[in-house]
């Protein structure tokens, strides 16, 4: 379980966040807290979050807000926190605020766990790009303040790329060509891995190709996990797998780490947080790696999806809605908060936070790359609009993982695995009582 936690929610564990300090936001929150203190005295909030740097941020918040004191608890990674929050909510003892991965938010709303804080967030909306803000707001209701994002990039071993004299692919067609070249030049080495368990990664690649996995209109859902774009992406990876151009293996196992350290796995098309994850398992390669824009389906495009990232949400259980909203806003837009966040190695969701990263050093793994933060900022600012997740993403994730693993093992088509996932998701939604339109 522990290991699955690492690979499955690598995004969650490693990412981070925060951001945008706008002076209006700061003064606004100061005003509200003063009023509240006058009325009710200091309030105490409970807060669950797993990501790095939270302790320091919470301490800074408490120092700046004598009338709101926050108690921080690490309740486990993204998946665990979401599960526990639902259970605690039903029991009536959920914390006031909690970090949630973006893809779990619709499920939390359907579970009735989150409070709409749109009455308190008008002043911070512009601190984020509309693409990021739309990850936590639905039909005008706001269910959280974005904390960290994981725009997708290609993380690659630049030293080995140079040794093998290969170029960073700009399109997915190039990617296949380069993968073949790598196999020809060094038969022990693969350009990349195809890991059947990487649901979030595949979702991001499919979204980049134009897939919409969930859509809701008038409470009627459309599920597109096996839509044309997703099928095309699956067929593309099928080609690479069939020709043995990518290594088919779970990520971050002792086996994979060993190959990585031997320089036999050259890249990981994933998201910004991946440099931190890789540094954790391949410390010796510090400085060898770099990031580049993710390959595109059409040359000249620059849109990418997110993989991972989280927001701070306020729960329905909270008796201090306004104070909790103030906390969520401060944590994700105040200068002090995003500076601590960046120091902890995380990529803020707010524009000001992202701007602030450019003044900092690149992560150790990519220590030699001078334009690291520029590449990162470009990816962050050109993310796909209107990414939406469904009410049973965790069901989809587990169905996807089992179906993909079975397809790889039994050598059946990956596209069939997508159809199977789609079927499980639609059946699950239908039996819960959702209206699901035919695709």
């Amino acid at each position: 379980m522990r290991i699955r936690g690492v690979s499955g929610s690598a995004a969650a564990l490693c990412l981070a966040v925060l951001l945008a300090a706008c002076s209006s936001g700061t003064s606004g929150s100061g005003g509200t807290t003063a009023t509240q203190a006058a009325q009710t005295g200091p309030v105490t909030l409970d807060f669950w979050c797993w990501s790095a740097g939270q302790k320091e941020k919470v301490a800074a918040f408490n120092k700046a807000h004598p009338d709101i004191q926050v108690r921080h608890t690490d309740a486990g990674g993204g998946t665990d926190t979401a599960t526990k929050l639902v259970t605690a909510g039903r029991a009536g003892n959920a914390p006031d605020a909690a970090c949630l991965e973006y893809q779990t938010i619709p499920a939390m709303i359907v579970a009735g766990a989150l409070a709409d804080i749109s009455a308190h967030t008008a002043d911070v909306k512009d601190a984020f790009t509309p693409e990021v803000w739309s990850l936590t707001s639905f039909d005008g209701a706001v269910y959280g303040v974005p904390q960290d994002v994981g725009p997708m990039v290609m993380v690659y071993n630049r030293k080995r790329f140079d040794e093998l004299k290969i170029e960073v692919p700009k399109t997915w067609q190039d990617f296949a060509t380069v993968a073949a070249a790598v196999r020809a030049k060094d038969p022990d080495t693969y350009l990349a891995t195809f890991a059947p368990a990487e649901f979030g990664n595949f979702a991001g690649l499919a979204q980049q190709a134009g897939a919409t996995w969930w859509k809701v209109q008038d409470q009627t859902w459309t599920v597109g996990i096996a839509d044309a774009a997703s099928t095309e992406v699956a067929a593309y990876w099928q080609g690479l797998v069939d020709k043995d151009l990518v290594k088919v293996q779970p990520l971050l196992t002792p086996e994979w780490n060993n190959q990585l350290n031997k320089g036999r796995i050259l890249s990981w098309p994933s998201a910004l947080w991946a440099t931190g994850v890789l540094y954790g398992v391949a410390e010796k390669q510090a400085g060898d790696w770099a990031i580049a824009p993710l390959p595109q389906w059409t040359e000249g495009d620059d849109r990418v999806a997110f993989q991972g990232g989280s927001a701070i949400a306020v729960t329905k259980n909270s008796k201090h809605l306004q104070a909790a909203a103030t906390f969520a806003k401060w944590m994700n837009t105040d200068k002090a908060a995003y500076e601590l966040q960046i120091a902890a190695g995380e990529y803020p969701a707010s524009l000001a936070g992202q701007q602030a990263t450019t003044a900092s050093e690149p992560p150790k793994l990519a220590g030699g790359q001078k334009d690291y933060w520029e590449v990162a900022a470009k990816a962050a600012q050109r993310t796909i609009p209107h990414i939406s997740w469904g009410p049973n993403v965790s069901t989809a994730q587990s169905a996807f993982q089992d179906a993909m693993a079975a397809a790889v093992r039994d050598k059946t088509p990956l596209t069939q695995a997508l159809q199977k996932t789609q079927q499980v998701v639609v059946d699950d939604m239908t039996s819960t009582g959702f209206k699901v339109a035919a695709p």
Binding site: A107, I109, V110, N258, A405, V408, D428, G433, F434
Partner: protein, 304 residues
């Protein structure tokens, strides 16, 4: 005068003495089991409130049972368990008996050391043992695969294809032999030495003594360890869960308990998981009772 007092004391004291046990039983066993059964007839269904609707708990009758009983993946989990158990249980019991007999053999040397060495793996937590073996199975960290590779025989497919069954059973055997050996060994030490001596004077070899004297006398211990092993097999969860991230062979519903965990905590469907748990518990109970009935006559018949 004395009689009423005695009667009063008699009526109260037993309840008082039994109260702690009853309270603990009710609070920590009966109530949770009752709650699981209650949950198993509930279900989370959508109501109209909220922008997407909200899931509420409602009564759904036997729907969860029907879904579980008609889920081929749930039954496939029992199939995999059977395969795993067929390899693991006889090996664990066989080796435990063998080691116990060897330790019991009068001429054995280094008895205390051997006993500790064989028992030691049982003291290693299951998760640690699984990780330890997992490293020894993965091609690039496995010492076994390293040897076969050097010998030109290729890698041993511990974690791919059907290799997963012996690989997992091996972890259980490694960890379980010591515990079962101690139970059987203790039982062997309880056999009066006159029996062995008499057989020896009659000219029986150590082998015949073991087969005709000792093993029949430790049959109750064998039944007990067999029952533990069977229940242990039905409850397998930790080993496959720990090894799952290292291989695509182990799905999230590989064994029934993993299936239950997934429904409860990944799909957020506690009622469905409760129904499957009830089915698993009842099934385990039935199998245990049947096993005891079948073996009772042979194991205990001569003694009672």
């Amino acid at each position: 005068m004395t009689e009423p007092i005695g009667a009063r004391r008699g009526s109260r004291a037993p309840y008082l003495f039994v109260a702690p046990a009853v309270v603990l039983f009710v609070a920590f066993l009966a109530v949770p089991i009752g709650y699981a059964v209650y949950l198993s007839v509930r279900g989370l269904r959508l109501t109209g409130a909220g922008i997407f609707g909200t899931r509420q708990e409602v009564f759904v009758g036997l729907d969860n049972y029907a879904r579980t009983l008609t889920d081929p993946e749930f039954w496939a989990g029992f199939g995999r368990l059977a395969l795993y158990g067929l390899i693991g249980v006889p090996l664990t019991l066989g080796l435990a008996l063998l080691f116990a007999l060897l330790l019991d053999y009068a001429g054995a040397r280094g008895r205390r050391f051997s006993r500790t060495a064989i028992f030691l793996p049982y003291a290693i937590p299951g998760v640690t043992a699984s990780l330890l073996w997992g490293f020894m199975y993965l091609p690039s960290t496995s010492p076994f695969s390293y040897l076969t590779r050097e010998l030109g025989l290729g890698e041993i497919p511990f974690l791919t294809g059907d290799g997963i069954y012996p690989a997992l059973a091996n972890v259980a055997v490694w960890g379980g032999v010591g515990f079962n050996m101690i139970i059987i060994f203790t039982s062997l030490r309880g056999i009066p030495s006159e029996l062995s001596d008499a057989a020896r004077i009659d000219g029986a070899s150590e082998w015949r003594i073991a087969w005709h004297v000792k093993i029949p006398l430790v049959a109750p211990a064998l039944v007990l360890t067999g029952l533990f092993a069977l229940i242990g097999t039905l409850q397998v969860y930790g080993e496959p869960t720990t090894l799952a991230p290292m291989t695509t062979e182990i799905s999230q519903t590989w064994v029934p308990l993993m299936h239950i965990y997934r429904d409860a905590f990944i799909r957020d469907d506690l009622p469905l998981a409760s129904a499957a748990s009830v089915i698993l518990a009842v099934g385990t109970l039935i199998v245990s009772v049947v096993l005891l009935k079948v073996t009772q006559k042979r194991a205990f018949g001569g003694m009672s």
